[in-house]
């Protein structure tokens, strides 16, 4: 079903390592989004929270937590978890409530406060939990899964470590003037290549850190929006697709792929299907896209996404990058916000932040990083355990 949901307001709390309660970041982001929307908190009918699993019970019931923090109004709430795709799940739930006519205006909020270092599995002895076992039996940290994809690009397509470093250099430059970015510093290819190896071929400066941060959106029906604005930015598709059996590409945190011995693999791999389903829902073609926010958990993964979202054919991402196509000013800028390279990941806020960036870009309000004349943008992201996430934003 085609969607048309208005984005009335976007708000963020700057990413960083602030060491405060995640609720504060969410409240700040929500207040900014409400202010931009010109909507009173008391008028919000539905609060859709993206959950964090690292901040105790309030994190599991994020919708209620943010509603209480902003002051109980009787608004209905939902709390969504889909790992890195939690924010998209929260957006999807808010859109569905609006489209179903259960509410006119909704607030989506995600925020996180994260510990230092590798994302580790939850404590205790849990020998039947694959997320516990992958650390125990293999030492398969998150970066090792990113690195398997990176190495395959090298051995299959001839990608070089310098190509990967260039992604970081590009994104660092994009994020320089983004007031919400955590890292606002240019880096050179040589600096990237001199940083310590984490999981060969990926180096420290090419792997996304974990951050504190918060992001929020005020979404409404078109009818509600028209009373306030003449030409709102809209969401025309939200893909929260899951894999189709057999999923033949190894995915974090699994030990193996599905077997394709008895059933042929689907036409599209899971990653290829995520944005494809959003394009289908919005009735657009990848060649219509003017800019993209993609999940650069590693520098090399950004290149994979160019291909998975149809910006180019498999094996052509390095050429796109080297031709400057994905730099601001190029044919289809990718991660004009600076991406995870400049933000680090605040899990439940990240997919919402991608939509905030597209909103500001499409309104022409992305000071210091503006993509000129952009009309149509796409976000893409993937959460652990089969959560696809892609949003099409239009102006």
């Amino acid at each position: 079903m085609a969607r048309e949901i208005a984005i009335l307001g976007a708000g963020m709390h700057p990413w960083g390592k602030w060491g405060r309660n995640f609720v504060e970041y969410g409240v700040k982001a929500a207040q900014d989004a409400l202010k931009e929307a010109g909507v009173e908190w008391k008028d919000i009918q539905f609060v859709s929270g993206g959950d964090t699993v690292r901040n105790g019970y309030p994190g599991y019931v994020a919708g209620a937590t943010f509603a209480q923090a902003l002051g109980w109004t009787g608004a209905r709430v939902a709390s969504s978890y889909g790992a890195c795709a939690s924010g998209a799940q929260a957006i999807d739930n808010a859109c569905a409530q609006i489209q179903a006519g259960f509410c006119d205006v909704a607030l989506v909020v995600g925020a996180d406060s994260t510990p230092k270092g590798f994302l580790a599995p939850q404590g205790g002895d849990r020998p039947t939990d694959p997320d516990w076992l992958r650390f125990r039996l293999l030492g398969a940290t998150n970066p090792t899964y990113f690195a398997l994809c990176a190495r395959r690009r090298m051995d299959l397509y001839g990608a070089t470590d310098r190509d990967f470093a260039k992604v970081k250099v590009k994104n660092a430059r994009h994020g320089l003037n983004n007031p919400y970015a955590r890292y606002k510093k240019e880096v050179t290819e040589d600096e990237v290549l001199a940083s310590p190896m984490v999981s060969d071929p990926l180096r420290l400066l090419e792997i996304c850190a974990t951050s504190d941060g918060g992001a929020a959106l005020v979404l409404s029906s078109m009818e509600f929006a028209r009373k306030r604005t003449t030409n709102p930015v809209t969401i025309t598709a939200v893909s929260t697709t899951t894999p189709r059996f057999p999923n033949t590409i190894i995915e974090m945190p699994n030990f193996s792929t599905d077997s394709a011995a008895a059933v042929a693999p689907p036409k599209l791999t899971f990653k290829d299907s995520i944005a494809a389903r959003a394009y289908e829902e919005a009735g657009v073609d990848p060649s219509d896209i003017n800019l993209a926010e993609v999940y650069d958990l590693s520098s090399a993964l950004e290149l994979d996404w160019y291909e998975h979202i149809g910006l180019c054919k498999p094996g052509e991402a390095e050429r796109m990058l080297n031709d400057g196509d994905t730099t601001i000013g190029g044919r289809v800028p990718v991660n004009p916000s600076g991406g995870l390279a400049c933000f680090g990941e605040a899990v439940p806020a990240q997919a919402i932040a991608q939509v905030c960036e597209l909103t500001w870009q499409l309104r022409g309000q992305a000071d210091g990083r503006q993509v000129e004349g952009a009309r149509l943008g796409v976000t893409v992201n993937q959460g652990l355990f089969g959560h696809g996430s892609s949003v099409i934003v239009k102006h």
């Binding site: 051995d155 190896m197 792929t257 077997s259 008895a262």
Partner: protein
Amino acid sequence: MTQQGLKSAIATKPGGKPQKPAVENWFRADPEPHLLGSQCSACKTYFFPRETFYCKNPDCTGTEFQEIEFSRTGTLWSYTNGCYKPPPPFVATDPFEPYTLAAVELAKEQIVILGQVAGGAGVDDLKVGMTMELVIETLFEDDEFEHTVWKWKPVTG
């Protein structure tokens, strides 16, 4: 695990600590190393780690599974290493030594399976497409046991 299974799983090397699988029923060391998967009796889909309850093929409602020894050799799909000590429950050596990981595609089972790389081989010894062989090696030791796991070993020559 049956009494007999336990006996075969805990073997003592001459002069060493007894060996114990770091995870039960995922692999077998004797008479030759094999990963132990399962196969749906109805649709013939393979599973590793083994499925024993309900088939994951959406077109199948199978609930009967056979234990299968998976192929011992496959093709290297990709590889990497860990240069920093992972968090627990990984048991690191002291001092920490980097370890190598491989994703290996088995032709018959049409499945890609992760494992550490055996015999101290590093990323410079590997190339996508090369043949890899399954072996059982020590994962870590404690006071009582040598805890073993499956690993992939590059086949040279």
